[in-house]
Amino acid sequence: METLAHQFDDVEQQREASTLGMWIFLATEVLFFGGMLLAYSVYRTLYFSAFAEASRDLDIVLGSVNTAVLLCSSLTMAMAVYQAERGNVKRLVRFIGLTMLLGTIFLAIKFYEYYEKYKEGLIPGAHFTWHGSDADHASLFFIAYFILTGMHALHMIVGLGLMSVLAILAWKGRFTPAYYTPVELGGLYWHFVDVVWVFLFPLLYLVHRSS
């Protein structure tokens, strides 16, 4: 039973407004990541060879696996919304759980990559040691890498938090075929975070692998 908030005239209006609100929020996120992507694009254009060399230092296997993990998590998320639409609470909770599991795997792999970079001395800042040429410009690559993937990871963590809340609410039986808007909105957010990674992966990992 969807509670109709007092400001809305009917459930349809409420759903329309909620969904539009979430898409607008996602538009703000596009601009937020986009600002950093501009910085990345400018420096990549100016210092291409340094960026290419630095990019080859990233672990393409881990990056590809992580991309696959997130793409699978988008499938499980879509399935979760599908189950919510049909009122299959048990399956809904399971698919949210799967999504969370895949998200956690993603973060685990990511933090492992960060740890590797730390061991290699590639954390930008005072202790940055680059083995190749053009350390200054390579450092810009790694600054962009950590900021972009770091911001993305932060959004993933928030996403996991959202999923936990959804899982708990779902398990308590709050969602019915008549009302599962939060699941839908959570799905939109999750898919968006996936889309960001879909762009980050080639931009960061695949600058110039063909040499």
């Binding site: 596009v30 601009l31 599908y82 839908e184 898919h191 879909v198 080639p202 695949l206 110039h208 692998r209």
Partner: protein, 96 residues
């Protein structure tokens, strides 16, 4: 509907394989273009099918596209500065 989701998921994984594979082929500047085109394709099918954009009202499409369109404005105008600095730099001395 489930079938659609599976197809989209398979396509996404296929495109992932494609983008990784293509990265190892020396295409010069087209490497970036290829990678970005594949990324855009993935993003579009995630938006259309997983995010239900295909079944959403036109207004939603406008806002879904607005962010990317605005990003395009930012990129185009800002990069036009960098693209032309070598050819039309700001004079280092404005007044004699």
């Amino acid at each position: 509907m489930i079938r659609t989701y599976i197809k989209v998921w398979a396509a996404l994984l296929g495109l992932l394989a494609l983008t990784v594979g293509a990265a190892y082929v020396p295409l010069g500047p087209f490497n970036t273009i290829t990678a970005m085109s594949i990324a855009v394709t993935k993003a579009v099918i995630i938006a259309l099918y997983f995010m239900h954009l295909r079944y959403s009202p036109r207004l939603t499409w406008v806002f879904a596209g607005a962010g990317f369109f605005w990003l395009l404005l930012l990129f185009t105008l800002a990069l036009s500065d960098y693209a032309t600095r070598r050819y039309m730099p700001s004079p280092t001395v404005w007044l004699p």
